[in-house]
């Protein structure tokens, strides 16, 4: 058996089922490890008591002979998911100390499946950011190089999994917040089709874009977690009414006409020329192409395609997402819950002071942008126009999918940047979202899988995008790649971090 922290979700399951280790043992080991790595800034909240109680309950279920895949598996939740037994902050001072009376559906499902939550993971405030430097508490850092960012907004989740503090974690992806940190930290993450996971209990940033997803060390681990997380929820009107999916079985389903040596035979992978601009960093391009080469060796065919409105995805997203956020964040007004200013002269003053004190700079920026683009006289030019372009971007993808099954390319234009670099110019960070935004706008499922290293020895991720509800196809391809390569097994553990 590997050292306890080296096991991924599937391996942990094996070890627990075969009684090589108990959940309590494993949980304690990870709690100790998390405590010893606080400088990574991965956790906002660690609850040993709650975790060990859940672990003990899981051990009882295992002893009773239950065989569910996730019983006793430790993980943690991005602090954007509300939890009844732990505080939820969304990385914001506005919710410091907030205790939700209910669990997010995704959390409840993972709890029911027997997972053991160690605590809440750091994130950019209200999921707004690409570096986890917008957390109101402290930044998360990249375990591969702690002078660099882990990516965002699910930076804490990525750091924890990459640093082997957890076998898996939940994240959320609105414009790339699972895929990009996964790429920056060399782990695997998947954002499913919009509507596959329930948003009930996920603090809303941009309602038409937010999706929950797992972050772990392999496609297989992601498949196990996603199966438990996903499914129709009557409390979320945007959740898709489909039967519960076994993504693990779908991942293992062999392709027709494929062989053991060529598991991806017949799979057409489209490479949009707009995802490989001249400006793409050479190290990223190199790693991505290496990954694509492996996929070819496994039988996939690479096809040139085009997503002509790729660049437009940036202004479209940065109009729609802030617009929805400006409305979603109105409820944080100091009246019912969360922070309220200590001193104020009247209602308006209370609102102003509460929100000025409770929200960080990036959140305020986006609320202002969002309010502006929805306001009278500007709605048609900005918001309405952006929604029309969004439809066209989605149509562009459909045109591609007539020529290919999956779309591939880089996740981000570079490897993780140095901490503090993004501070002067927020727009620079926005521009770096160029490859993940289009898939988000179209609501398509997307993954990031590690394909090697770039500048400074920092990880590079390959992005795979599938058509609606093709998570199985994505996971299958990623799994095939990971059976044939070792990139996903690399960890920064050998480096002091």
């Amino acid at each position: 058996m590997k050292s306890l922290h080296d096991m991924g979700v599937a391996e942990t399951r094996q070890a627990l089922q075969s009684k090589q280790v108990s959940s309590v043992e494993l949980t304690q080991a990870l709690l100790d490890r998390a405590a010893a790595h606080q400088h990574l800034g991965a956790f906002l909240h660690l609850d040993a008591e709650a975790a060990l109680a859940r672990a003990a309950a899981a051990d009882a279920r295992l002893a009773a002979g239950e065989s569910g895949a996730l019983i006793g598996v430790p993980l943690a939740h991005k602090d954007i998911f509300v939890t009844a037994d732990m505080p939820t902050t969304a990385g914001s001072k506005m919710l410091e100390g907030y205790r939700s009376p209910f669990d997010a559906t995704v959390v409840a499902r993972l709890n029911a499946a027997g997972t053991v939550s160690l605590g809440k993971l750091n994130c950019d405030e209200y999921a707004m950011g690409s570096a986890n430097e917008n957390s109101a508490y402290f930044p998360a850092t990249n375990p591969w190089d702690t002078t660099r960012v882990p990516g965002g907004s699910s930076g804490g989740s990525a750091a924890a999994v990459a640093a082997r503090l957890l076998p898996g974690a939940t994240g959320t992806d609105t414009g790339g917040s699972i895929r990009q940190p996964a790429s920056f930290t060399g782990i695997t993450g998947i954002k499913p089709t919009y509507g596959v996971c329930s948003r009930y209990g996920m603090i809303a940033f941009a309602s038409s874009l937010d999706q929950a997803g797992p972050m772990a060390r392999s496609a297989e681990d992601c498949a196990l977690l996603l199966s438990a997380m996903s499914g129709f929820d009557e409390r979320d009107a945007t959740s898709v009414q489909q039967a519960p999916q076994d993504f693990h079985a779908q991942m293992l389903q062999p392709r027709e006409g494929a062989s053991a040596a060529q598991p991806l035979k017949g799979l057409r992978i489209g490479l949009p020329r707009e995802f490989f601009p001249a400006a793409l960093a050479a190290d990223v391009d190199g790693a991505v192409r290496a990954g694509l080469k492996e996929l070819e060796k496994l039988g996939a065919t690479l096809v040139d395609v085009s997503l002509p409105r790729t660049e437009l995805a940036i202004p479209v997203y940065y109009i729609i997402a802030p617009a929805e956020a400006s409305s979603n964040l109105s409820r944080f007004d100091g009246v019912k819950f969360g922070h309220r200013a200590a001193k104020y002269t009247d209602l308006l003053d209370m609102y102003k002071k509460t929100r000025a004190e409770g929200f960080g700079a990036e959140v305020k920026r986006r609320i202002m942008i969002g309010t502006y683009v929805l306001s009278h006289g500007y709605y048609d030019a900005y918001y309405l126009q952006a929604q029309k372009l969004r439809r066209m971007i989605a149509d562009d993808f459909q045109a591609c999918f007539r020529q290919c099954d999956l779309i591939a390319g880089p996740v981000a234009p570079s490897v993780a940047w140095k901490a503090g670099e993004g501070a002067e110019d927020p727009v620079k960070a926005y521009l770096a979202d160029i490859f993940t935004l289009p898939g988000s706008l179209a609501g398509l499922p997307g993954m990031s899988v590690p394909v090697g290293f770039g500048e400074g020895g920092m990880p590079v991720g390959l992005q795979l995008l599938g058509n609606y509800f093709k998570e199985g196809q994505l996971l299958h391809a990623a799994h095939a790649l990971q059976q044939a390569t070792d990139w996903h097994r690399a960890s920064p553990v050998s480096r002091p971090f």
Partner: protein, 482 residues
């Protein structure tokens, strides 16, 4: 176009917006109860409180009620409509936005017909849309603070918007009453105005005939038809005063003070609010397929207009009477029950519009609580029809029934000795006596003085102690006088 409703030479233009609380068990976007009167904040779930992570889910029963309304007013039920967020900050609005409908409402068009006096009037509807109610702000009970009760937050509302087709306060009040009766008839609203189930906002403007529409002011939250009339009256005169003084009318929201009888503008900041409407991304478009509409149509009660037409065609009631009989479902049922027992439709209508209505109004009660039942009224009318009692006598019996001095019509007629004289021989004998005793009147009548005849009738009724059948007296006297 004839317009006799001008006020000081100005035409009054009125449109109404009514907020109707739909009588569903639970709220429009959450499962909380909508029952009135619970202790504050005991009917407010995490969704109603807008706790982080909560989401709205649409209540089908609210949609059904909207469909029913749309069908009843002959409107188009939109096959696809969109929920939109209306954004503004207020403590009784937990999310900081109200979920409503903006560009594409669920009900489009339609019309409402009613009578103002004897005149028939039609008001066109612009639209009706679904939205959620806000909570309540309670100022009185708290010193220097305001209490927020979110029980009401999320209650389903149907906002019904009329075209500015009304031309007087009276028309506006009748429209509101008709709409009020209709939503109760349809079973979509309990109509309890004290509890805020049915609220009226009135848009009023004035103009010289032929000129374009004037600037309107909106009188908000009127919860009685009497106040509506008073408010409109004051507002119209206030606006005319302004214009005559050369002052412009500023668009404003105004409140009516029942104690002073005046309307007063609220802070004008309210009116320039930009609500930044956009389609709510948490709710998919509302799709109403034809079969749903048809199912609702099939389950609807007979509409008042249809029933009124039936009363006209089958029972021979005049249009006005038929409209009166269908003012409420309970009244219509009362009418039909009495009719079914053999009472003449026109007589039933007369009694309901007359005696019954007068007493119900003065005692501020509704037909459902009438002490006289349909069966009792029918029995009484049958005794008029068969000549047993005169109308006058019947009124006395009715009195007794109303005051619960007795419950059986025949028993009351007997005990009060109100039976009309049926023996024509006896009557003729008395009439001969009357003519003999009133020779002067006879002479005057024969000389051409019509009034003398009435005097003789009066004498005859006196002589018979009111028990004679007036019609018979008339006939026989005429015969005797040649």
């Amino acid at each position: 176009m004839a317009n006799s409703k001008l006020v000081r030479g100005y035409e009054v233009v009125i449109g109404l917006e009514n907020h109707v609380q739909l009588s569903t068990q639970s709220k429009i976007f959450s499962g909380s109860s909508t029952a009135f009167g619970a202790a504050p904040n005991t009917q407010a779930s995490p969704v109603d409180l807008a706790l982080p992570g909560t989401l709205p889910v649409l209540n089908r029963a609210a949609v059904e009620r909207a469909i029913r309304f749309g069908l009843a007013v002959g409107a188009k039920v939109a096959p696809l409509s969109i929920f939109a967020r209306k954004n503004y900050f207020y403590p009784d609005l937990p999310k900081g936005y109200q979920i409503s409908q903006f560009e594409i409402p669920v009900v489009q068009g339609g019309q409402v017909e009613f009578f103002v006096g004897e005149e028939r009037k039609t008001v066109r509807l612009t639209r009706a849309h679904l939205e959620e109610d806000a909570g309540k702000s309670l100022h009185e009970d708290y010193h220097g603070q305001t209490g927020i009760d979110l029980n009401r937050a999320g209650t389903p509302l149907l906002e019904i918007v009329s075209e500015p087709d009304m031309r007087s306060g009276a028309e506006a009040a009748e429209y509101a009453k008709t709409l009020h009766a209709l939503v109760m008839w349809l079973g979509i609203c309990d109509g309890n105005m004290q509890e805020g189930s049915f609220r009226c906002d009135v848009n009023v403007s004035v103009r010289r005939p032929g000129e374009p529409y004037g600037t309107r002011r909106e009188i908000k939250n009127l919860n009685s038809f009497r106040y509506l009339l008073q408010a409109v009256d004051f507002e119209v005169n206030w606006q005319i005063d302004q214009i005559e003084d050369g002052l412009p009318i500023q668009q404003a929201t105004v409140l009516f003070n029942p104690d002073t009888g005046e309307t007063r503008a609220m802070r004008s900041k309210e009116d320039s609010a930009d609500y930044r409407y956009f389609p709510d991304p948490d709710l998919p478009p509302l799709v109403i397929a034809n079969d749903w509409v048809e199912r609702v149509r099939g389950e609807m009660p007979e509409l008042p207009a249809v029933m009124a037409a039936r009363f006209q065609n089958e029972d021979g009631l005049p249009a006005y009477d038929a409209a009166m009989m269908t003012a409420s479902l309970a009244l219509a049922r009362f009418y039909e029950a009495a009719k079914a027992l053999g009472a003449q439709p026109k007589l039933v209508a007369n009694w309901l519009m007359g005696e019954v209505s007068r007493r119900l109004n003065s005692e501020e009660r509704s037909i459902e609580s009438s002490p006289v039942s349909a069966a009792q009224l029918a029995a009484l009318i049958l005794r008029i029809q068969d000549g047993t009692v005169s109308n006058n006598a019947a009124r006395q019996v009715f009195d007794s029934l109303w005051n619960a001095e007795g419950s059986d019509v025949d028993a009351l007629i007997e005990s009060k000795g109100l039976k009309q004289m049926s023996d024509t021989g006896e009557l003729e004998r008395i009439l001969d006596e009357v003519l003999a005793a009133n020779a002067k009147s006879v002479e005057e009548f024969r000389a051409g003085k019509e009034k003398a005849f009435n005097a003789l009738v009066g004498q005859a009724m006196k002589a018979t102690k009111g028990k004679a059948n007036p019609t018979q007296v008339n006939e026989l006297l005429k015969k005797k006088l040649g």
